[in-house]
Point group: C2
Chain length 327, copies 2
């Protein structure tokens, strides 16, 4: 939705790992529009015929796994900025398969860092962490100084990845910025990753006139951020020297109840309905309670602020739904 000028990325050698995921693909499009010399590392290439393939002309693809150090060596070489988005999402899934989460997310992160240390220690690394590093009962809005106490293996490994990045900066002079992203939504969610963003999932369900399942009363507050704003924060962090060695919250700074969000989706779609059910035990165990990010640090330090209001963002996704959600 936003149209910012990212001329500073024109001709710049940049790598996006996980560049065909939800945030990754939005980031890749923004970098492509800016004229970056773009590399993408992804397991998923090629995407299904006729979908995104046509719009990824001129991109260097590194097809394979983030744990493949030879491939990662090749991908990181010569890149000025590396956006590391490859990984496995989802707190509930991580608690069910902790060893898999360790292997993909922790070993993947260390593989990338070791490749950079050896072959490209001067690269700037931007890493999307998560609000899920914070514990339950954190005082709201949460600042970056709030205690970390993850309720999932996913959150523990995000926190460890943050610590790796800060350590490599200390030990090896590398440069890293960590962005703790709240709940992102927006276009280009892949249907096979449909559980990643709850708003996108609800839009999908509403468009099919199916019930939107709300656990309990749905009173828990969430901080939803449009992916354009998240991408904007990542691009800003990739260039700003003031961002090095820093951890920033990236959210809207606004708390919206889960139920209110669902009702807005239904209103905007003109379809769907809320269905309340009891909290499933696996979800209840990772439920953090209300979450609202304090975003004053990134505003002060980098001048970044969210531009997309939730209501407008949802309407935009719905308006473009047939065109982009399934593609």
């Amino acid at each position: 939705m936003t149209q910012r000028d990212w001329a500073a990325y024109s001709g710049k050698p940049v790598l996006v790992t996980g560049g065909l995921g939800f945030i990754g693909f939005n980031l890749v499009r923004a970098l492509q529009a800016a004229g970056a010399q773009l590399g993408v590392l992804s397991r998923s290439w090629p995407p299904r015929p006729g979908s995104v393939e046509s719009i990824l002309g001129g991109v260097s693809f590194f097809k394979g796994d983030i744990r493949d150090s030879a491939l990662v060596d090749e991908a990181v070489t010569g890149r000025d900025v590396i956006f590391h988005l490859a990984g496995k999402s989802g707190p509930v899934a991580s608690n069910a398969s902790p060893l898999e989460d360790l292997d993909v997310n922790s070993r993947g992160m260390l593989t990338l860092l070791e490749s950079c240390r050896t072959l490209n220690p001067g690269a700037k690394i931007v890493f999307p962490s998560s609000r899920l590093v914070y514990g339950a009962n954190t005082e709201m809005p949460a600042t970056e100084a709030a205690p970390t106490a993850p309720l999932s293996i996913y959150g523990i490994h995000k926190r460890a990845a943050e610590e790796y990045l800060l350590l490599y900066q200390r030990l090896h002079g590398m440069r890293a910025t960590i962005l703790r992203i709240t709940n992102p939504y927006g276009p280009f969610q892949r249907p096979d990753q449909n559980r990643y963003g709850i708003i996108n999932w609800f839009i999908h369900e509403a468009m099919h006139d199916r019930p939107l399942t709300v656990y309990g009363k749905g009173a828990q507050l969430r901080d939803y951020i449009h992916v354009d704003d998240a991408v904007d924060a990542m691009l800003t962090a990739g260039l700003a020297p003031e961002a090095e060695g820093m951890i920033f919250n990236v959210g809207s700074g606004r708390g919206v109840s889960f139920l209110e969000m669902a009702e807005h989706v239904i209103r905007s779609a003109g379809r769907g309905r809320v269905k309340h059910i009891e909290w499933p035990s696996d979800a209840a165990l990772v439920e953090t309670g209300d979450f609202i990010a304090d975003i004053s640090l990134i505003a002060e330090r980098l001048g970044w602020k969210p531009a997309v209001r939730l209501e407008a963002g949802i309407e935009d996704v719905i308006a473009r739904y047939g065109k982009i959600f399934e593609s």
Copy 2:
């Protein structure tokens, strides 16, 4: 040195992973003396002929790696208390080989937890963490609430292991106690692991009349704890319901400068000399500055206090040196 009564362990099925390491072997001896029904998981068995083998009669051995889930499944089954000491030590080594540290320490810990969750969720797990989870410039003495900010991959993975344990307690009702041990020393250090405990290493060097290398002035304060006291804390934690879900510092609560410790070793041994050298860069980068543990929480909650004073502890190790250090 201490002679405590651990009758409550008599006949109790207990597992020690890493039971032939420095702390592990001291723990195994104490459990054996208490009459525990003891299992030991270790890669190192059999130890060299004529050494510890003779004193480990009646112990069930599980020879192999902590990452071998079939072996771990077998070892954890039916145990009331599991002391998880298997792993790789050393902050400097971990920074040189981060992927190896991840594999042994993080994958090893999750392998153990998954085996327990599946086969023995009621077991009590006692885990030795480290003062190295704290960052530099922590206010001294450090309480357990001090911020964690590890300066090594080893410290990051110790912190992640703490979080795994607390998470498994939350998710699966398992019971865990975490002990952040300061700098341990005492008998039964294996010569091939001689860098693990600096006091033991200094005693070894002094007994051979070699120089004791002190980085810089050696003014940094350390909190040294005799392994008997650490073992005592572990045995206490293994039985006490009040310890469940808790993190405790385990140290002497006393700060002694590195130089003062070295001089005491030389005085007690009647041999050796201090040699000052510049800080090597790899050691300087993981140097935390002064460290003294606040041990009031474990004193209040479990009634544990250290019993061995540093000077007496060093003299005891030296007195028994020929007999135990090399064995």
